[in-house]
């Protein structure tokens, strides 16, 4: 297949390196906010700040590399990535390292690897590949098979157990199916089925600590010094931030360490405490900016695979934001989803930026003729 750039005589530097300038702007602003918040959340630890900065650099390079790959190449890789991912997930369950009571890591001697991270991209790729093989909207039996593609890795990851990631992976696949145009009637039916499945999950699938989290979520005050402590302290941090916040580095809940996990999952509480509701609205605006840009890229993409993949990656990014904010403010149970590009930690950031690299590839590498 022959590929050519649009308007080749007006190629900018960003276009030449396949970077979507608007998306990059949004991501960089978000990363800057993230660094400032992390600095506060770690108790002004310059070392932590430096390491996070390095991770961001690595993630940006990964993004850049991913942006160079043509979308059609991703399309061809989809089934292999998915197959390898499934095998590795099975391997994790069989021989994985145990960290914090859950098997998530696969030790390949050279590097320790979390296959579930890879599946965050492999699952939407696979679903997009499968559905885009047929005409849209997908037929019921195709939807059914697509669901099977989603459910298998979801269950494998949930068994590790890693509820947060399995939730993200399930939603990434479901978004692809949704965007492909599965019928509203089917959506309604599956929603009811899902509702009926909830009690089965509660009684047969969920582990004790997961149930405990849900109970704590329902009534955190029932155990204010134990399981409810995190969420109560988090709500105190957010609530006491008020409209304007206590000021950067001035949040008493975070600086005096009343707030647990403040530089990882609960960093949004630190942000809310120090910058208040106004600051939160600003942060949401940045996220919304990135999401809107992602959906625009998806909408402008030329083929069904690219559209579905770009849309799914973007909406999954939103799920991160929603679940994280929801859980630290008491709307959702605490399932361990980081605030994207703000929370401390490299793994999820690299995955996210790899996804944005794909978005950029889709945005910048277009064939002259659509098929």
């Amino acid at each position: 297949m022959k590929r050519t750039q649009i308007r080749p005589n007006q190629v900018t530097f960003l276009q030449r390196i396949h970077v979507d300038g608007v998306l990059l702007l949004g991501l960089l602003i978000l990363m800057a906010v993230g660094l400032a918040t992390l600095y506060s959340a770690t108790g002004q630890d310059a070392g932590q700040l430096q390491r996070q900065f390095m991770r961001m650099g690595v993630a940006l390079i990964v993004m850049l590399v991913m942006a160079q790959v043509p979308p059609m190449a991703y399309r061809r890789l989809s089934i292999y990535a998915f197959a390898i991912g499934i095998l590795m997930l099975i391997a994790v369950l069989l021989f994985g390292d145990i960290g914090k009571g859950a098997q998530r890591w696969l030790d390949l001697k050279v590097i320790r690897f979390q296959p579930s991270e890879m599946m965050k991209l492999a699952v939407p790729m696979m679903v997009a590949w499968y559905i885009s093989n047929y005409n849209l909207p997908p037929k019921t039996n195709q939807v059914f098979i697509a669901f099977v593609i989603v459910v298998v890795p979801t269950i494998l990851i949930a068994k590790q157990p890693d509820l947060g990631t399995s939730l993200l992976i399930a939603s990434s696949g479901i978004f692809a199916i949704f965007l492909a145009g599965m019928s509203w009637r089917l959506i309604g039916f599956l929603t009811l089925l899902g509702g009926a499945f909830l009690p089965i999950m509660w009684f047969f699938l969920m582990k004790e600590y997961q149930k405990q989290r849900v109970i704590t979520f329902m009534n955190p005050e029932s155990d204010p010094l134990g399981a409810g402590y995190h969420i109560i302290q988090s709500k105190i941090a957010i609530g006491s931030g008020g409209l304007r916040g206590k000021g950067w580095l001035e949040g008493t809940q975070s600086q005096l360490e009343f707030l647990p996990e403040r530089h990882t999952d609960f960093i949004f509480s630190v942000f809310s405490e120090e910058f208040g509701l106004f600051g939160v609205l600003g942060l949401l605006a940045i996220y919304l900016f990135i999401i809107t840009r992602g959906l625009i890229i998806a909408n402008r993409a030329q083929d069904a695979y690219s559209k579905l993949l770009a849309g799914s990656i973007t909406l999954t990014f939103f799920v991160y934001v929603f679940v994280n904010m929801g859980m630290v403010s008491g709307l959702l149970p605490v399932v361990g989803v980081p605030l994207p590009l703000v929370s401390h930690g490299g793994t999820s950031m690299v995955t996210l930026m790899a996804g944005f690299g794909m978005l950029m590839a889709i945005s910048t590498q277009k064939r002259l003729l659509s098929r």
Binding site: N133, Y134, N135, L136, P137, F175, F178, L179, A180, G181, Q233, K235, I236, A237, I238, G239, S240, G241, G242, L243, T252, Q253, L256, E257, F258, S272, G276, L277, V280, L281, L284, L288, I291, T292, L295, A298, N299, A304, K307, L308, G311, L315, F318, F322, M325, G326, S329, G330, L331, S370, R371
Partner: protein, 632 residues
């Protein structure tokens, strides 16, 4: 696979995707609005609540103990002070391996088993984050030794705090009492009094004596500091301090020099001396012998020392001056004489002929006079001077127990004087009702006769006796004995404690006071007075009355032979007196247990005390203006 794509409608698919993407972005907005409205509830509607809880997390209010008020004698000599002491305190919560830590500390500081036992007894009833003292008094060398090793003992700290010290030790124990660590009983009383907050940081509480009686004055008011703490409870910074108000410094009526003199006089004897100012009721000296060192109790007395005090035959823990109950013996003859005169049973001219024996008609019992052959012809004056028993046997017989009991109760016998000590007993003024209640026996006429010489169930305490003698001196005016003279005001002047007057004794014939007081003058100053020998050549004029209380009933045909009676059953020697006779500045009661006769044993001690008092007449015993006003 490829075949299907040939019939693909790309425009329709693009439109379908665009519609779904629009729905998706709407869903995104909808979900974000849920997030935002939830945040609005938290950050705006419930802001105040969370703000309060956030402050509740970080701001802790810590109590600061007030410094305990000091205690001075009437001349400003410090009697109770606060000194810094270092104690080794453990916070159980912060110690991972308590037995190991205790073992290491034992090696380092030679901690005794008893200290460890006490430590465990204390932590049992306490919160785990509260520090508990393992050793309360570290010397400087121990402080240095521990400080060098401190890093090995997380959760173990040396705390400096002020602790009570009594520089005069055993001299004032029964007056001052002492403070010691607040125990469960104290805590319960504090809670009942609603003083919990005020004692939140307080370590010691008055357990005895003035320290206990005037606890409210001495303690002061707790202060608070607002601190910012982190999640470990570590103090990050101090936000606000509301300083404690120290307790009031108290000034006593006690004169420490006179008190020391009393201690010297009673050295090696069991007994007590009480010196008061008759015009005010102020207690100038009050010593009970033997005494003990109150400083032992401040830091927790060892069990061995405590049981030694508790089990001692000499009963040092008892304040004999206020708790010792003794038959008043002949010291109450002036009181009874006054009653006889008032009831017109006798006059100044009434005389009896004393042959040394007193009999009642139809009663086969002989009451002896202390003087075997009697005093011959005696009137009321001489009966006091020579302490004629027969005269008072007859007087008691004629008065009857009811009148005696009623009048002596009015004097204050058998009742608390109201001195500012909780350690006081009311002793006993016998009556028909009392005997019925106590022994379920009727009052016999034979019981009445020895009441005339202050025996027969009649007991009194030295402070009570002093109190009644002061009433005689004041011709019926009665003042509650007071140890505390006043407290220091904020501007450094003494806020004098108001005099506490009691209902006075009103006589029909005021001249009767003169008769009785003149007779007491005679005891000291006339040739056959029982205290004449003891008070020979004094530079002051005093008056008094001797007493010899029998603890041992001598058989009807025997005489009391001191050598034949066990030491503990020998007579108590007593003396009450005052001086100068014309305008009394001091009154004194001396009680010596098992010492023999009052005139030969107690009177010389009283004289020594009076000599000392007037030789060192440097202190103001005259009424100050304030006292005069208070009296009015």
């Amino acid at each position: 696979m490829r075949k299907r794509q040939t019939i693909r409608d790309h425009t329709a698919e693009a439109n379908l995707f665009a519609r779904r993407a629009t729905v998706a972005i709407l869903i995104v907005f909808f979900m974000l609005s849920i997030i935002v409205s939830n945040l609005y509830v938290l950050q705006v509607e419930q802001y105040e609540d969370f703000q309060t809880r956030s402050n509740g997390n970080r701001i802790k209010v810590l109590p600061i103990a007030p410094n305990r008020g000091l205690i001075y004698d009437r001349n400003g000599v410090l009697l109770a002070e606060n000194r810094p002491v270092f104690s080794l305190e453990l916070i159980p919560e912060q110690i991972d391996n308590l037995p190991f830590t205790l073992g290491e500390l034992t090696k380092l500081l030679d901690i005794s088993d008893e200290e460890i036992e006490n430590f465990f007894a204390t932590i049992r009833g306490q919160r785990r984050f509260k520090p508990v003292a393992l050793r309360t008094q570290l010397n400087e060398e121990e402080v240095a030794r521990f400080s060098a090793q401190k890093h090995r003992f997380p959760g173990v700290n040396i705390e400096a705090r002020l602790s009570r010290h009594y520089p005069y030790g055993s001299t004032l124990t029964h007056v001052l009492g002492y403070v010691a660590k607040i125990n469960k009983n104290d805590l319960q009383k504090i809670v009942e009094a609603g003083q919990e907050a005020n004692y939140a940081a307080t370590y010691d509480i008055g357990k005895l004596g003035i320290e206990k009686f005037h606890e409210d004055l001495l303690h002061g008011t707790v202060g608070f500091q607002q601190v910012e703490v982190n999640n470990q409870g570590r103090i990050i910074r101090i936000l606000n301090v509301d300083p404690p108000q120290p307790g009031k410094d108290i000034v006593l009526n006690i004169d420490i020099e006179l008190q020391l003199a009393a201690q010297r006089e009673l050295d090696g004897q069991r007994g007590s001396i009480v010196v008061t100012s008759p015009q005010t009721g102020g207690v100038l000296a009050m010593y009970s012998s033997p005494s003990y060192d109150p400083n032992l109790f401040v830091h927790g007395i060892s069990r061995k020392n405590y049981s030694a005090l508790l089990n001692s035959e000499d009963r040092p823990l008892i304040n004999r001056a206020t708790q010792g109950q003794y038959p008043p013996a002949s010291t109450v003859k002036p009181h009874l004489a006054l009653l006889g005169l008032e009831q017109e049973i006798i006059t100044q001219q009434t005389t009896i002929n004393d042959h040394g024996r007193y009999r009642l008609p139809n009663v086969n019992h002989v009451w002896r006079d202390w003087k075997r052959w009697g005093h011959g012809k005696v009137n009321v004056t001489k009966a006091i001077e020579v302490s004629c028993d027969t005269f008072y046997y007859d007087l008691a017989y004629q008065l009857g127990i009811d009148r005696i009991s009623e009048a002596m109760t009015e004097f204050g016998f058998g009742d608390y004087t109201g001195i500012d000590l909780y350690e006081e007993s009311d002793a006993n003024m016998p009556s028909r009702g009392w005997k019925r209640a106590r022994f379920n026996q009727p009052w016999y006429i034979g019981d009445t006769i020895p009441v005339g010489i202050g025996q027969s169930f009649w007991t009194t305490t030295p402070i009570q006796l002093t109190h009644t003698v002061n009433t005689l001196i004041n011709r019926g005016e009665r003042y509650v004995p007071q140890i505390m003279r006043g407290f220091m005001s904020e501007v450094g002047t003494i806020e004098l404690e108001p005099l506490k007057s009691l209902r006075p004794i009103v006589v029909k014939e005021p001249k009767n006071w003169n008769i009785v007081l003149d007779a007491m003058y005679g005891v000291v100053n006339r040739e056959d007075g029982t205290a004449q020998a003891a008070f020979i050549d004094t530079p002051y004029v005093s008056a008094g009355k001797t007493g010899t209380a029998q603890l041992f009933s001598v058989g009807q045909n025997e005489s009391y032979e001191e050598e034949n009676v066990a030491e503990r059953l020998r007579d108590n020697a007593m003396y009450v007196g005052y001086a100068p006779y014309e305008s009394p500045e001091m009154s004194i009661t001396v009680v010596l247990e098992n010492a023999g006769g009052g005139s030969s044993n107690a009177a010389p001690i009283a004289r020594n005390m009076m000599d000392f008092f007037f030789r060192n007449h440097s202190f103001p015993t005259q009424l100050t203006n304030a006292e005069t006003q208070a009296k009015m």
